[in-house]
């Protein structure tokens, strides 16, 4: 334990105390047995995951501030569900999601050769390039070239195929089930409350990275789900990272969370100069007061960030400027492309720089964090190869790896259900 423990509970924190678990409670609830790796190795499990998890659960696909204006859209390829998704803000200001599939003969309405692209629908319509069918951004089929040549065409039934789409704290989720078994609010449950209220939408300056990893998606997810690796894997980029403590374990239905406390690293000389532009002001500096009350409930001064797993493939690391200088929060997402291929997306979110010096300082923080991510990702393909070698059948998990134990158990439960 670092010697900076807060003593007084923060106002409102008691409402979340039922989520907290001691190490003993975690062990009692989740066990201490090794966890089988077969779910990572077996392609048949991946097929089940597609059907029973990814086609049925809420998945974060965008944020409000990515598509702020009417007509703004994002196209996201979801290989895991064999579809392309169009998320668009209609002329009524409402964000909707559709299969990016033309109802004429199936072409993509908005062409996209990347994993995701952004654009703006002019005049609040999107039109398919193949034969020119035109759809409103709220879904209906508006016009068809040479319509009379179809003999009979029931345009009212030929709108874009809508996908359930709901927003939580500015994060836009979709659910491919028709209809979903539960609302987004019910699905997020206490997690949604625990993380609610932070001004996520103010941190609109994003640095995004992605890469395709030759590994099962759970290998990537698990590597970002624990603090055990920090002193070893990050010895290069976080030298002298002192007193890292991964604690405040919380179990929240299919989700879970935990906290990284620590005294931070001894900043290198350049980092000290850059960081001084970000830590010494209210705009970018540490704002522990903005953390929702269930996070860092005793107000410890060595709080670094909250590290949750949001079922099934999303992480929001909420830092409020307390960890890496200036970072409000950062997210990870793990999209299966195939049983053994994964698209990883990592995004650092800052509040907008108010001048050129703050921007450069953010770029320094971002570079340090990106480099730490390079260390994290270095393990993933090797781990997957090792698991496929067939010489180990289980993972040995320690207390700080409980998010992995919890996630693995949840995946099993969903596949069995």
């Amino acid at each position: 334990m670092n010697d900076l423990s807060g003593t007084t509970p923060r106002k409102g924190s008691e409402a979340f105390s039922h989520l907290g678990r001691s190490v003993e409670a975690i062990r009692a609830e989740l066990g201490i047995e090794p966890v089988p790796v077969e779910a990572i190795r077996d392609p048949a499990v991946y097929e089940l995951e597609r059907e029973k998890i990814f086609r049925r659960t809420w998945l974060k696909v965008a944020t409000d501030w990515e598509i702020p204006e009417k007509g703004d859209y994002k196209v996201k390829e979801l290989q895991v569900a064999d579809t392309s998704v169009l998320i668009v803000r209609g002329k009524d200001g409402v964000v909707r999601a559709f299969h990016n599939v033309c109802t004429h003969r199936g072409n993509k309405v908005v062409p996209n050769s990347d994993f995701e692209t952004f654009g703006k629908a002019r005049a609040n319509v999107v039109s398919c390039r193949f034969h020119g069918w035109v759809f409103s951004t709220d879904g209906p089929l508006r016009s068809v070239p040479m319509e009379e040549a179809f003999g009979k065409l029931d345009k009212a039934c030929l709108g874009l195929r809508e996908i359930a789409c709901e927003t939580w704290e500015g994060f836009i989720f979709i659910n491919l089930a028709d209809p979903p078994e539960q609302s987004l609010a019910d699905f997020l449950g206490d997690f949604g409350k625990l993380f609610a209220g932070y001004p996520y939408a103010e941190a609109t300056s994003a640095f995004r990275y992605s890469t395709v990893l030759e590994c099962n998606w759970k290998v990537a997810l698990y590597a970002f789900s624990e603090g055990y690796h920090v002193p070893t894997i990050h010895a290069g980029s976080l030298p002298g990272f002192s007193g890292v403590e991964h604690s405040d374990f919380k179990l929240i239905g299919p989700h879970a969370s935990s906290t990284i406390y620590g005294l931070g690293m001894e900043a290198a000389s350049s980092t000290a100069v850059f960081a001084s532009r970000l830590v010494a002001n209210d705009h970018h500096g540490p704002r522990p007061d903005l953390l929702p009350p269930g996070i860092n409930p005793t107000g410890r001064q060595d709080f670094q960030f909250e590290l949750p797993n949001i079922f099934p493939n999303f992480l929001i690391h909420l830092a409020a400027g307390c960890g890496y200088p200036g970072i409000a929060f950062f997210t990870h997402q793990f999209w299966p492309l195939d049983h053994g291929r994964t698209l990883w997306e990592g995004i650092n979110y800052f509040r907008p720089a108010r001048n050129a010096a703050e921007r450069v300082a953010q770029m320094h923080t971002n570079a340090l964090h990106r480099n730490a991510w390079l260390e994290d990702t270095a393990t993933m393909e090797d781990t997957y190869q090792g698991i496929r070698a067939g010489v180990i059948d289980e993972m040995q998990l320690m207390d700080q790896e409980f998010l992995i134990r919890h996630a693995a158990r949840n995946f099993d439960a969903h596949l069995a259900g």
Binding site: W65, E66, F118, T204, S205, A206, F207, R208, Y209, S210, T211, V212, I233, G236, S237, P239, A268, S269, S270, T271, V273, F274, R277, P352, A353, N355, A356, A357, E358, R359, V360, A361, M363, H364, A367, L368, R370, N371, W373, L374, E375, D376, T377, A378, M380
Partner: protein
């Protein structure tokens, strides 16, 4: 080349570094870093670190929108240093982060966007 580089008055002596290091986008700066050696990093570092507080003091007076050519050059140079300094301080002069995934496989979504544009988020 260097005599065509403009910089705000008191930073004119940094012009040779601008020609070598300063580029507007993350992708362009990464390319330069990936081909740099320990001496390139240490030479850059020795000149820049002592000047950094003064550079940032100046840039703190510059709005990101509508920077003139001289301010843009200084911004790009500071940006290059922001990304290059850890290679000298932490990675022993290596262009790669030791024991890491290939940086060339990481795709920055903003890689070809000038770094002063905060743009699509």
């Amino acid at each position: 080349m260097t005599d065509t580089v403009t910089l705000p008055g008191r930073f004119e002596d940094l012009a040779p570094l601008v020609a070598t290091w300063a580029r507007p986008t993350e992708n362009a700066r990464s390319k330069i870093r990936w081909s740099a050696g320990p001496e390139d990093f240490s030479d850059f570092y020795e000149v820049m670190l002592p000047r950094l507080p003064e550079i940032l003091d100046y840039l703190a007076t510059v709005p990101l929108e509508g920077m003139d050519e001289a301010d843009t050059n200084l911004f790009c140079l500071a940006a290059a240093f922001a990304e290059a300094a850890p290679h000298h301080e932490l990675y022993g002069g290596s262009a790669d982060v030791p024991f890491s995934f290939s940086a060339r496989r990481f795709v920055p979504g903003h890689g070809d966007v000038p770094s002063w544009e905060t743009g699509r988020n």
